[in-house]
Amino acid sequence: MKSKTDKPSSRREFLKTASLSAGVVAAGAVIETGSVKAEGLPKENKNAGYTESDHVKKYYELARI
């Protein structure tokens, strides 16, 4: 078992050398919401009769046309 002090820096160091932090993808933070979006619904509402998630709101928006 690695000591607690070893873990964070090892992982961070590894990810750094693996080039994930190259300015590259950092510049790409502007990618907007993808077409497949998973969203979290509060667990408490799960049994509520009806939850207005984003796509439902969108449907109502479009239905007004």
Partner: protein, 203 residues
């Protein structure tokens, strides 16, 4: 942090954020045909001399060569087809040979436990590679109103996506219809191998 209903991104390190962005990038490319904005974005990618960097550089280069129409056709040939595309990017397919199988059921159960649900109106089952990448992204940045530990991310990764995705990316890179998606396959494979290794360091 679980139970907070604040949906702002958790404070994560730059390295973890980079992982999230790569997952988001993969999710966008694999989830729908590229729009003009995405193609423009891909053209601006720059890679360094690392393997991952080279994959990004290759992706950028090909993105500069294809038209929007060509990219759309390629996406269609790869993933949609008449009844199906050249590839079936679903966990169930890669793990059992059939669609809508136990891996999908297990994924739905896990999503339920994690408090995550599909919000788009796609008719695709949830075990689509793009959807799974989107979930990884959300777990890293705390998009679902909760902070997911590395252990939780690791479990999700190995149980639902890391256990089949490299094979998919191999197939993608080798696919007949792949031009833009060839470097996507390489990128995915390299990134997922890094993820695998990084998770074992943290274990």
């Amino acid at each position: 942090m679980r139970g907070l209903d604040v949906a702002e991104p958790a404070v994560v390190s730059e390295e973890e954020l980079s992982r999230a962005r790569l997952y988001r990038l993969l999710s966008r490319i694999l989830g729908a045909p590229a729009d003009a904005a995405l193609l423009e974005f891909l053209k601006k990618l720059e890679g360094d001399e690392t393997t991952l960097g080279q994959a990004l550089g290759a992706l950028s280069e090909v993105a500069g060569r294809v038209t929007l129409e060509e990219a759309g056709r390629e996406f269609h040939d790869l993933f949609i087809g008449v009844t199906q595309g050249e590839l079936l990017p679903f966990a169930s397919h890669y793990l059992t040979g059939f669609l809508n199988e136990k891996p999908l059921a297990e994924l739905r159960e896990e999503m339920n436990n994690l408090g995550i649900s599909r919000s788009n109106d796609s008719s695709d089952p949830e075990d689509h590679i793009a959807s799974l990448c989107e979930i990884m992204h959300g777990m890293i940045i705390g998009e679902y109103g909760a902070s997911y530990s590395l252990q939780e991310q690791r479990n999700f990764f190995f149980n639902h996506v890391g256990n089949w995705a490299v094979k998919f990316f191999d197939d993608l890179e080798a696919a007949r219809a792949a031009t833009l998606f060839m470097p996507v396959g390489l990128l995915g494979r390299m990134f997922f191998k890094i993820e695998e290794e990084a998770f074992s360091i943290a274990a």
